[in-house]
Symmetry: C2
């Protein structure tokens, strides 16, 4: 959609994003940037505290809501990284937290949540079932946020794009892994406010390509069976709000194969010395395998690094 | 030695270090810093181009000498990382380069050197034999630099400490892995010019502790047989010049066990999402195992990340 016809969502104005960013704990660092000398720049949210960008949204939500919580505390649905961030933030702010996770969730991520003292409630393996379980928790007195519909979640996610903009680097293109599409939508809005001509490209695994299908059909589309090693990118449909924002603000959606993701994860370890989980490397995989045009000032989000060491060892061995 | 009695070496003045830093290629980035929110700060030279700090010295030397090279090109002795950096820089500047490496050198590092088009000449497994082989090359018309005696090598190394100082962070303590001691000595001189009260602490594996022994005896001391998994820290004696500088400028030398190094490497992968080779993690291992006092504003150099993926897989599996 052309620049002139895009509508800036009410929650997405720069002053509000800046305020949200300023109120995040000091442990939430700007993304360590690998500058693009001979290749694309990398936004290393794998190096973020809790190992993914999700801590931004969790801390923003707790900044907003933690003073009105009952004994039930705060709850979110998560494929893993949201839950790890939630558990860390619960400990940081001294708030009881509950994560709704699917049965197929990575056991190592479940363990991390429990290590930080977070409660885990399991649900069947679908985005809809997860939301239903979350609403059950609400009846028990847990203050819940549905990240598929809640604008404040996107505000938290948008602080990553804001950090990129505020670092002052040139930006022609930003590549973002997508699951329900929250980070993708939020990054687009944050970056394009400052760089209207920058291209924002979302990437999904071929076996979990609900947002790509939605772009193709022009409406929210589902994947009957998600098949991917990217446990962070397992949404079987886009979020409602991410979809509404992304359809206006995102330029392109791209699919990437599992083999390309595996190659990217190995390249990151061998050549970039970074531990990135499969889903976190999807954007780089699409770029390295030629599915995205190579332009100067390309920034690729490495969205998470929570990869069980024993599983990483298998990928490297 | 107290602040007042230290002598600033002629090569180590801040203006000369700044000039050397400014002339390094754009690919040589400032160390990506992990800020100390709940732990020590990390200077991530594993994320440096070529995967270690050595590229700083190599590029500085080639900036000085590349215009006077004959067809024989430029040569250095290396346990591995210096050679990888040399090969990259040779390609960058279009200069033929030769690395003298020990027979026990990590085969993956040898492979990386050859991938970048560098020539490798093998020598017996001792620091003295390596220097002797280097001097043989000189007779064949290779322009060689002996990093155990050449001040300009320390100038290159010192640009890391300079980067740290120029980042403006508070600095109370800097922890540096040591082999012949070049990075340690150079870091001490660079940091203490700006922060005279900062403590500089060197770390060596228990089985490769020549600099620790030299500090204990007050003179250059040797290790008869080096035993360590840290292939980057295998010097059986300190360099002459590093020793002269370190004895004046370094506050403390510490030994660390192989098991602690293994734990640190695993922690870096699992919690920090960083790939660091054993030698590069020695400083962190000493800190995490309680061998170094915990003070605020502690910075730990992660000096390199060149770790064969298959070997890393074994360490993680």
């Amino acid at each position: 959609m052309s620049e002139s016809t895009r509508t800036l969502p009410a929650w997405a104005g720069r002053p509000y994003l800046e305020k949200a960013r300023a109120e995040l704990p000091a442990q939430v660092v700007p993304p360590l940037l690998r500058q693009p000398a001979d290749g694309p720049g990398l936004l290393c949210e794998n190096l973020q505290v809790t190992g993914s960008y999700k801590v931004r949204a969790v801390c923003h939500l707790l900044n907003l809501y933690r003073r009105r919580l009952d004994a039930g505390g705060f709850g979110l649905a998560s494929s893993g990284n949201f839950a790890v961030a939630l558990a860390w933030a619960g400990q940081h702010y001294g708030v009881p937290v509950t994560a709704v996770m699917m049965r197929r969730s990575d056991p190592w991520k479940v363990h991390k949540v429990q290590q930080f003292g977070g409660r885990v409630v399991f649900c069947p393996d679908s985005t809809e079932e997860r939301t239903a379980t979350l609403l059950e928790l609400e009846k028990e007195g847990v203050f819940v946020v549905d990240h598929l519909r809640e604008p404040e979640v996107l505000v938290g996610h948008a602080t990553l794009g804001l950090d990129l903009v505020q670092s002052g680097v040139p930006i022609q293109q930003v590549v973002v892994p997508a699951s329900t599409g929250g980070l993708l939508a939020a990054t687009a809005v944050a970056v394009k406010q400052a760089h209207p001509m920058a291209r924002i490209i979302g990437v999904q695994p071929s076996g979990a390509d609900a947002m790509v299908r939605s772009f193709e059909s022009g409406q929210i589309s589902r994947v009957a069976q998600v098949v991917t090693e990217c446990d962070a990118l397992t949404a079987n449909r886009p979020g409602d709000l991410p979809w509404e924002v992304a359809r206006e603000w995102v330029d392109e959606m791209v699919r990437v194969d599992e083999d390309d993701i595996r190659r990217a994860v190995r390249w990151l370890v061998e050549d970039a010395k970074l531990v990135v989980e499969p889903g976190g490397a999807a954007g780089l995989a699409a770029y390295q395998s030629g599915r995205i045009a190579h332009r100067e000032a390309t920034w690729i989000v490495l969205s998470g690094g929570n990869f069980a060491p024993t599983r990483l060892a298998q990928w490297l061995g």
